[in-house]
């Protein structure tokens, strides 16, 4: 029982950290989450992690919450999902309460704005690396490469919803690998 509590605490603290540094929301969270959950703690394998992302993209709501819920579930069941979700939300909740309170007294916080403007290119880099890392377990043969390219073109060139793209890719996978 103590083992489980220790795991839950680790998970909570880990998600607090991820939540606190995911500047820019869901996609930014992916590499940070991966660095913790796959690399540091080894709670999930690389391919399991990709599956978590896939499912998180398909369910409603903020992708960051979905990621936390699913990853938490995989690590430590229902309790894990609760703990992870609370952990990832808490830093932003507290920060927003703090900032909102100050907001109407000091409408612009120039130092913060400068900070965040500096961070953004690094975020793009972070997300690009995430794609790179995830591709290692995902692009394994020609069909996967084709699927990936098609989805990329559609995602950039059209406004087809991500859920549809993932569903289409899943059906393709089913057809190619099962039948």
């Amino acid at each position: 029982m103590r083992e489980v509590s220790k795991l839950l605490l680790e998970l909570f603290l880990c998600m607090l950290k991820v939540g606190a540094f995911s500047f820019g929301g869901g996609y930014c969270m992916i590499p940070l989450l991966r660095a913790e959950v796959v690399d540091r703690y080894g709670w999930l394998s690389g391919s399991e992690f990709v599956d978590v992302i896939a499912v998180a993209e398909m369910t409603p709501g903020p992708i960051a919450v979905n990621l936390a819920t699913f990853a938490g579930y995989k690590v430590a069941g229902v309790w894990g999902s609760m703990v992870a979700t609370c952990g990832v939300i808490l830093p932003s909740l507290l920060l927003m309460i703090l900032v909102s309170g100050l907001f109407f007294r000091y409408k612009r916080l120039p130092i913060l704005q400068l900070f965040f403007r500096g961070v953004r290119p690094a975020i793009v880099g972070l997300i690009a690396v995430a794609a790179l890392v995830v591709s290692r377990v995902s692009m394994v043969d020609s069909p996967t490469f084709v699927i990936g390219s098609v989805v990329l073109i559609l995602a950039l060139g059209t406004s087809v919803h991500p859920v549809i793209l993932i569903a289409g890719a899943g059906v393709s996978g089913l057809l190619i690998y099962y039948w």
Partner: protein, 177 residues
């Protein structure tokens, strides 16, 4: 006191409805929250909401959560923020939990494995697309390009992503002063 609980409840339910029907990530929720909180309920002025977006988008964490928290706080203080975030996150959490349970039980089935093999490259593509779209907006001058390339190299080399982000932010402040 009753008026306050009623507002908290309304806040919770409004965000719950938005959270339940928003597919595809947090950014999509922002206009929906705005419509509900500014246009429909008139809890916050348009100007205040727009001004807040810069802060919300800059703050860490899920954007939808930040927007909900801000709107909730504006309407009804700390409790409002809690009610709004709870509403926004709850449908997500519940659905995800159900899906996770079903998913974990079925992942060994060869058909499911086949579907996943197809889905994984799509995930890569979507992440890459997100990077491209963000990059279009953000990589507008030489320093940002440098930081982009630098952060890719640094992270691949094994430096903690958090350190890279903080360094970039600090530089952003330092270059002005």
């Amino acid at each position: 006191m009753r008026g306050r609980s009623s507002i908290l409840w309304q806040l919770f339910v409004s965000l719950l409805r938005i959270g339940a029907f928003t597919f595809g990530g947090g950014y999509v929720m922002i206009p929906l929250i705005k419509h509900e909180v500014v246009d429909r309920r008139r809890w916050i002025s348009q100007e205040d909401f727009m001004d807040s977006l810069a802060v919300i988008q800059s703050a860490p964490g899920p954007i939808a959560v930040n927007t909900a928290a801000f709107a909730g706080f504006r309407v009804c203080g700390t409790w409002g923020a809690l009610a709004a975030v709870a509403g926004a996150a709850l449908p997500s959490y519940v659905v995800m939990l159900l899906v996770a349970a079903v998913f974990s039980a079925s992942v060994d089935h060869p058909a499911v494995a086949a579907i996943l093999r197809g889905v994984r490259p799509a995930v890569v593509a979507l992440i890459l697309a997100a990077a491209v779209r963000l990059g279009e907006r953000v990589l507008v001058d030489a320093p940002s390009m440098v930081w982009f390339v630098g952060s890719v190299v640094a992270i691949v080399a094994g430096i903690q992503p958090i350190l890279v982000l903080v360094a970039a932010g600090v530089w952003g402040v330092g270059r002005r002063y």
